[in-house]
């Protein structure tokens, strides 16, 4: 329970080790007023914006935290507000406040114990194997993956993947029509040229191959360019973040998402896309090439 001079209310109190916590949850980025906690702080607290309003607090206000210790005895301690955070998840804003773990442990007299250990993986593919391992070796009932903690998020990520496939199909269709359109234009623009070539003895196989080679050259130029562009864009936003605050702040906050996105794309994904694009382009060039060999050279050269 957290109390001010005016009012009190229930809340969760999290004791953190700031330097380590910030590596993982980046809550220090969420400070709207004041400053984040430091490792050297003593009896300082950071609370959410909505709690500030409810308890009529401001920076440097004193609050009293009251809770039961390990022996079920009620204890309390005074803390000074040094920072106010605004969460990307509006639901947790008044349900959580942060203090230094050491202060909390002293009040609870539990030495240097911890209650929660978060592990951030480099690769989400390792999620299940690691959680399995942890369950077997250490914490049978106390290991939870993020998918178990937040099944709705996991579902959303999965449906997002399905959306991506649909987007990909739409983009590939657009690509297909783009190539057909470009190459068809290029064939139709050169009806006389192609008709002349066929008249003087260039056979249909060669005309077909000519159009195919032209398409392959265009694709061969376009793919590296596109990949480079994608790589640069993704790298940029991976470093500086893609800020969607202005677009969907409230929606994202309600769903508990951060409004700054740091996109990544694995190189296998690049390879897969290059492969798919190459195949699709190849198939799309068949139709313009087929159109070219169906040209009647007489009609082609008669046109003025």
């Amino acid at each position: 329970m957290i109390g001010s001079a005016n009012k009190s209310q229930g809340t969760r109190i999290l004791g953190i080790v700031p330097s380590e916590e910030y590596e993982l949850t980046k809550i220090n980025d969420l400070i709207a007023d004041g400053r984040p906690l430091k490792d050297t702080d003593k009896n300082k607290i950071v609370i959410g914006q909505s709690l500030v309003k409810k308890l009529k607090l401001k920076l440097r206000s004193k609050v009293v935290l009251t809770f039961a210790d390990a022996n079920h005895e009620i204890i309390s301690g005074a803390f000074k507000v040094v920072g106010i955070f605004q969460s990307y998840n509006s639901n947790i804003e008044d349900k959580i406040c942060y203090v230094i773990k050491k202060d909390l442990n002293e009040l609870l007299s539990i030495g240097n114990n911890s209650h929660q250990l978060a592990i951030l993986l480099y690769n989400n593919d390792d999620l299940n194997s690691l959680s399995q391992q942890l369950k077997q070796t250490y914490y049978e009932n106390q290991t939870e993956t993020w998918e178990e903690i937040s099944p709705e998020l996991s579902m959303m990520v999965n449906s997002m993947d399905q959306y991506m496939v649909i987007f990909l199909i739409i983009i590939l269709l657009a690509l297909c029509f783009g190539i057909i359109n470009t190459m068809l234009m290029s064939v139709l623009e050169r009806i006389k040229e192609i008709g002349m070539l066929m008249s003087i003895g260039m056979n249909k196989t060669k005309v077909f191959i000519l159009i195919m080679i032209e398409t392959i050259l265009i694709i061969g130029l376009a793919i590296p360019f596109g990949v480079l562009l994608a790589f640069l864009t993704i790298s940029y936003f991976n470093t500086y973040g893609l800020d969607l605050t202005n677009m969907a702040n409230e929606t994202f906050r309600e769903m508990g998402f951060q409004t700054i996105i740091y996109p990544t794309l694995s190189y296998t994904y690049y390879l897969r896309i290059i492969f798919i694009v190459a195949i699709v382009s190849f198939l799309a060039s068949l139709y313009p090439a087929y159109t070219a060999i169906r040209l009647n050279p007489v009609e082609a050269i008669r046109k003025n």
């Binding site: 002349m196 070539l197 008249s199 003087i200 260039m202 056979n203 196989t205 007489v298 008669r302 003025n304």
Partner: protein, 240 residues
Amino acid sequence: MNSKTITRPVIRTKSLTKIYNGKGIPVKAIDNVDLEIKKGEFTALVGPSGSGKTTLLNMIGGLDQPTSGQVFIDEQDIYKLNNNEIIDFRLNNIGFVFQHFNLLPVLTAKENVEFVMLLQKKSKNERNKIVEWLFEEVGLTEKLNVRPNKLSGGQQQRVAVARAIASRPQFVLADEPTANLDSQSAADLLDLMTKLNKEENMTFIFSTHDQRVIDRARRIITLVDGKIYSDILQNTIKAY
């Protein structure tokens, strides 16, 4: 008469007929034409617009399937050949000069001429020899590496003639080759064709309605409404 002129016809048409089914009413563009062209002839195909000159040249050139009748080239019934065979036949036996659009704009004059020989899979050595000789003949040695848009209309048509004979064809078909040229360029082109006819015994058949070009021909075939109206040999050839 040219001593090399042999009696064997290089082109022979038999009851050649072409009917176009344009907008409803069928048009008899070529009507039952029997014609022989011998090796080494220098023939003008004349007649008013719409008389069937282009249609006849296209059929002789294996470009346009006749409605009925046959075209024999060296006694080969060319419309008995399948699609790709007839294209290869054109490549090796017939040279073409069109009224417009003869040259590929992205290639240089030399490359344009070389192109047909590449299709014939001639060696680089052979190609270079022929290119050198041809540009000498057409008088454009300095324009070897120039693109068509940097050439005058007359120069372009001379490159087209060079291209047409680079494949060493049996004969050259030229559909109104001088139609877009001024009279001096037209005369130059005719000089070139006459020279190639005399020196190389190259057979030329060209359509025209320019009287000064007609006067340069040895044989004049006049078409009217798709039929041969007259076919004369003239001995005195005027020069301009």
